[in-house]
């Protein structure tokens, strides 16, 4: 008897959304590694100093590279300046968006909110709807039909992934979304995870963004140069590639429909420059398991939980030696995924022992 056909329905209103609810995968209890409450409390402590230092450095570098790009505009010397500016704008904004969205980066709440709004604009993620989308991602991480942020649905769209390095698919989609929000229209899926009380805010922010983009475009037309757009707008595209390099390591190729972040997320060791740009989100299993721990304490949390975790990847290259073949294989055999091995010292999660990984159409 042949296996049932796999249905790749990742929509939040489709068959798998219902299946996930029926099978207890929606808003479920997730495995959590043991850690003494006292130690966890220490690691959850917030301070402003780290995030203020990093934010000043970030804006300082944006200002410096931006000035040099302006100064050398018209010569080849502007190219490396705008490459650096683009990475700071289009890549580093992703992790700032993320950490400040969780409100863990700064101790002072308003500082998180200010940087969150700025970073949301830079990474082109409309701040209100994406906050709620990310909330759902944490409730139902890589649960098919529930998680709106599954970056690589099966079978992987390899051309789409290649385009993602310059957000050539998601960027225009976000602009369409902003335009729609400007007219007060949210999609049925957005209405699922954004509470009605927040809809006016979605519309308000979208209109502010539209005004900013219109202003920059008008400025570029007025001076007959793309230079203004090299500072605002285009760097979200030309500087996004490293964000995608980082981001794909989080979950791509791993199991779906499991209630254990050790099996669907990766922790990847990275160098200090990458960790500054990525704000330690390379400790992704730990982040998902304990989202209250601020980015600057994730290395210490990682040290605490190491014995209960799968082996971390020793650098981006090691992660991609697994991801690239996995995605290639998934493009031919969508049922394939990478099974993470837990060490003998690890405790069993809800999916062990005898755990059966699910296909997209058949949540556990």
């Amino acid at each position: 008897m042949s296996a049932p056909a796999i249905e790749f329905d990742y929509s939040l209103l489709g068959k798998n959304a219902k299946l996930a609810e029926e099978r207890g995968l929606a808003s479920a209890d997730w495995y959590s590694s043991p850690i003494p409450r006292k130690r966890l409390k220490e690691l959850m402590q917030r301070r402003d100093s780290s995030a203020i230092r990093d934010t000043l450095l970030w804006f300082g570098l944006l200002g410096l590279t931006g000035y040099l790009g302006y100064h050398f505009w018209g010569t080849w010397w502007c190219v490396p300046c705008f490459i650096a500016y683009g990475l700071l704008y289009g890549t580093a904004s992703d992790s700032r968006w993320h950490e400040c969205g969780h409100r863990t980066a700064f101790r002072t709440a308003w500082m998180n909110d200010v940087v969150y709004e700025i970073a949301s604009f830079m990474v082109i993620r409309e701040s209100t709807s994406w906050r709620w989308s990310h909330t759902r991602h944490h409730t139902d991480t890589i649960i098919v039909g529930r998680d709106p942020e599954i970056a690589v649905p099966r079978p992987p769209d390899l051309v789409g992934i290649a385009m993602a390095f310059f957000i050539l698919k998601s960027g225009p989609k976000e602009f369409k979304r902003i335009a729609r929000h400007c007219f007060g229209s949210l999609t049925p899926e957005e209405k699922l995870y954004v509470p009605e009380s927040e809809w006016p805010r979605v519309v308000r922010i979208a209109r502010i963004w539209a005004l900013i983009y219109a202003g920059v475009i008008a400025w570029a037309i007025a001076i007959r140069s793309i230079l203004p757009l090299m500072f605002i707008g285009l760097p979200s595209f030309y500087g996004a590639w490293l964000m995608v390099v980082f981001g794909l390591t989080q979950h791509a190729g791993l199991a779906e429909n499991v209630l254990d972040h050790r099996l669907n997320s990766r922790t990847v060791y990275m160098n200090p420059v990458f960790r500054f740009l990525y704000w330690n989100m390379n400790y992704h299993v730990e982040h998902h398991m304990f989202p209250m721990v601020p980015n600057y304490n994730l290395p210490a949390l990682h040290a605490e939980l190491k014995a209960d975790m799968p082996k971390p990847y020793n650098g981006i290259w090691e992660a991609y030696r697994e991801i690239i073949p996995a995605l290639w294989k998934q493009s031919k055999d969508p049922a394939f995924f990478v099974r993470r091995e837990l060490p003998p010292t690890a405790k069993s999660g809800p999916n062990d022992p005898g755990f059966t990984y699910a296909r997209p159409a058949e949540p556990l």
């Binding site: 917030r46 969780h102 709440a109 709620w132 927040e198 304990f290």
Partner: protein
């Protein structure tokens, strides 16, 4: 007097059951509550589950007068129950708390 107290106030444990700037879970009558102790030794009580996704706040993080939900970092002022913004939009119910002879008493109903 003591009987009268027991009728109105429920014993929720010893004052040292909670560390300073921390929270514990207290279950009573089929309901769950969160009891807080501030850095300056004041005690407060709220409903035990986050109004967003019904996660136990006792696993959360206390910072000044704020309780942060462990799942989505939603924040409430536990002295008033007021939700501090997305992803929490609905306030928590709060309950009067007092201490008596080293016991934490919370008034329910």
């Amino acid at each position: 007097m003591s009987d009268q107290l027991n009728e109105t106030w429920v014993d929720a444990g010893h004052v040292d059951d909670i560390e300073k700037e921390d929270v514990i879970r207290f279950d009573h009558g089929g309901r769950t509550f969160a009891i807080y102790r501030t850095a300056d030794d004041k005690y407060y009580a709220t409903d035990g589950l986050c109004t967003h996704e019904k996660v136990h706040l006792a696993n959360g993080f206390v910072m000044d007068h704020i309780i942060e939900c462990p799942k989505h970092n939603g924040r409430f002022d536990f002295t008033t129950g007021k939700a501090q913004g997305a992803p929490v939009c609905v306030n928590l119910s709060t309950y009067p708390v007092r201490t008596d002879a080293g016991r934490i008493l919370i008034r329910l109903g």
